[in-house]
Symmetry: D2
Subunit: 169 residues, 4 copies
Amino acid sequence: MTVRAPGAPPSRYVAVVGPGEGATDDDCGAAETTGRLLAQRGVVVITGGLGGVMGSAAEGASSVGGLSVGVLPQADRDEASPHLTVSIPTGLGEMRNALIVRAADGVVAIGGSWGTLSEIALARRTGVPVVVLGDWTLRGPGGLRPVEHESSPEAAVDRLLRLLAPGGD
Amino acid sequence: MTVRAPGAPPSRYVAVVGPGEGATDDDCGAAETTGRLLAQRGVVVITGGLGGVMGSAAEGASSVGGLSVGVLPQADRDEASPHLTVSIPTGLGEMRNALIVRAADGVVAIGGSWGTLSEIALARRTGVPVVVLGDWTLRGPGGLRPVEHESSPEAAVDRLLRLLAPGGD
Amino acid sequence: MTVRAPGAPPSRYVAVVGPGEGATDDDCGAAETTGRLLAQRGVVVITGGLGGVMGSAAEGASSVGGLSVGVLPQADRDEASPHLTVSIPTGLGEMRNALIVRAADGVVAIGGSWGTLSEIALARRTGVPVVVLGDWTLRGPGGLRPVEHESSPEAAVDRLLRLLAPGGD
Amino acid sequence: MTVRAPGAPPSRYVAVVGPGEGATDDDCGAAETTGRLLAQRGVVVITGGLGGVMGSAAEGASSVGGLSVGVLPQADRDEASPHLTVSIPTGLGEMRNALIVRAADGVVAIGGSWGTLSEIALARRTGVPVVVLGDWTLRGPGGLRPVEHESSPEAAVDRLLRLLAPGGD
């Protein structure tokens, strides 16, 4: 169990965000690997607490004894992933997306949906580092908006943890 | 003053969203026109309550005696636009973006920023009609994601109010 | 209409809180008077947006052309009081009680319920002046906890507005 | 570590609420015992994540390898208790009190403060069972309002877990 010892450096928290019902098998596979890799490096995995990308990331974390937290849109735990260490019903609906981003030191986004895009945008808005898996083009009236992009969970986790390191690039 | 008479059909509420500090003069001009046009059609204008696009939309609404509401990120009113009819400090920071979208029957987005994109995405996620002014390309792993686009405030307001009408297209 | 003129001092906002369904006729009468008196003094009345004490306070404010805002627990306006100038659906359930208190410069509590008590407590916790109508005894392990008490709407409004005045007692 | 096994009955979550800075030594001692007893019975302990009663309850849970979650008022973890398994910064200020109550199946309140009273009231309002340690008298215009009262942590935990059991009294 990757609970930090007294005196150990504070845990880092990374949100793995992505679609629930619309997630593809590839998305879920990538999410499980991402959750596992994060947990193996002592990171607490935060998700939206449901299925699809969220449930797979939690499953990956729990498969190696790591901690994962699900911040649920509902006011109860009925639809919570069974792989979570801790679930937090909020009753906030999609407003909980902002809570996930706020509670995270960094974000990995896997697969695409409007909810996922809201989390990427909120993270960029509030200065939380984000790495996306998969091709995103986000271009608005203010110009091209690049986001950090990687094509494998291993590379995404490496990139994000470098960004989170003290003095990270 | 466009307060609805007893027995009148319920007011519609439209959020005008866009950047504060980074807004261009063109953005602000378009926002003022949009706020004015909405108020002239009896719509309550909701914004994030600060300056830039938000303040200009409120100014447009107030210029014709309309109602506008500002849902502020701060816990006090110190930075509220002076053009608001009513200001609501929330202390929620960017989490208040979701509250703006939730309180709106429809959204007009003007100009571009990560905060604006979060509001577009939350609206699309929760089924609130959105019309954007300006060029956005939002493409993710799940394919191209079109949003309703218009090139003038007049066309944007017309399009949105048609979408909000009973049986709207 | 008590909209403030450009250059006028900023409006004050006072929340009138109390039960919806369980409100007595006396509660509702006192709430209507309180809403009216506040509006006559240029105050924007904030409520929880539903019936009972909330609806009566909004009705009192609207009877003299004042502004009232309802911060609804639901995510839509279906149950909003018809007397509101502006309604804000939040989808926050009882969590919106904290938003009401935060948006208010002061609070008048009328009648008793657990929801009302939560608002009194949150206001006292965050330093927002509160005046209660009716007999409350709130005694906990830390000692007796007095709240400002008055027995008529007139006295409650006078007392609260004195507390809110610059250098208020 | 009391992580539930696959197929095990879902964990219960109990919030231990009470003052931070104003907590007495007796409050903190009772909170530590309460946290420990809850964790020994497989319950996840939820707190507001800071010191005083909150930190002592987390310490009690961690002393026996249990899980505790802190739902922080701040937007960062700087003031989080070092005894938490998981901390959730919210940036909600006192609005997070409602989130603590919502995430809990039941509440034990220890010591007295306005914040604690807001949590007792929100729990009663939303039907979440509460047991208080210490003498509270909460009387309002609607009559006397009894809350379940016990004088020791052992009795409070027993009482609450009986209330939470299927068919609990």
